[in-house]
Symmetry: C2
Subunit: 173 residues, 2 copies
Amino acid sequence: MPLRSDWSDRPCTIARGIDVLGDPWSLLILREAFGGATRFEGFSRHTGITDKALSGRLKTMTENGLLERVDGPSGARPRAEYRLTQAGADALPVLHAFALWAEQHAPNVELGRLGINCRACGARARSADTCRTCGRDLDVTNTRWTWAGSRDGEQVDLDSALDNLEDKQLASR
Amino acid sequence: MPLRSDWSDRPCTIARGIDVLGDPWSLLILREAFGGATRFEGFSRHTGITDKALSGRLKTMTENGLLERVDGPSGARPRAEYRLTQAGADALPVLHAFALWAEQHAPNVELGRLGINCRACGARARSADTCRTCGRDLDVTNTRWTWAGSRDGEQVDLDSALDNLEDKQLASR
């Protein structure tokens, strides 16, 4: 992590989690990965990150096992894809915890919000990882995000990120 | 936030949550506040933060409504205390989400870990905010942390942080 000292040897699981996941840009890149982004321009579109910062984060996140880099077919313009690993996918509750806190304490509805719903029962999420209505896990297989505001109506079932996990073979496009 | 641009106007609740809570040092300071720290040296003891960085974070976190500054009695050495606000206390699931992720993906048991338990039923937490055994909220009133490793055996019921919320009157010490 470039912004502070190494916390990977801290005697506390909170600090060790923050060490890998606690970089603000990395969290937004994960958000885009959950939304289905796999390529450089896909990660930059909604994050506002500079190319240099994005390159650095993709490298670090790959080294840390959150993303897997898959090189495209060789050719005039080889392009890498970055797929969520299981460790990356398991970070979903961290993003949800931030969103639920902001829903309550930074709720500026005019700016828009991210709706988080259980796909099984449709209930709005009130927990970072557990549907309090039907009890199911709110993981990538069972979560739907709905954007309001500038990305109004954009909706994504997070198993599109799961497809990334399962389909490790990069198709030629 | 000093490390990047202002995200308070982002059309996404994840980004707005990260804007206030997503600074690594602030998250560790919150951890200490949940553990009962209220004073400068209390926040620095287990975090390894420099005095300068701690001063800056306490100021920002107070401005952002996560902590409330309470000035001590005037005297030769007036000392401020910083108490968790309700908004700060509501950030507990963010810390838990980091810890549960690291428990699974950075589990170096030799370094130690933070045990998170439901006080009502004693079960080990498997969710950031909901006891999956008895269904109760894992909030400050119902969570026990147990440190293993360098802080071995140190145990804290997080309602000591709640006392901070309720007792706004600073006693002379």
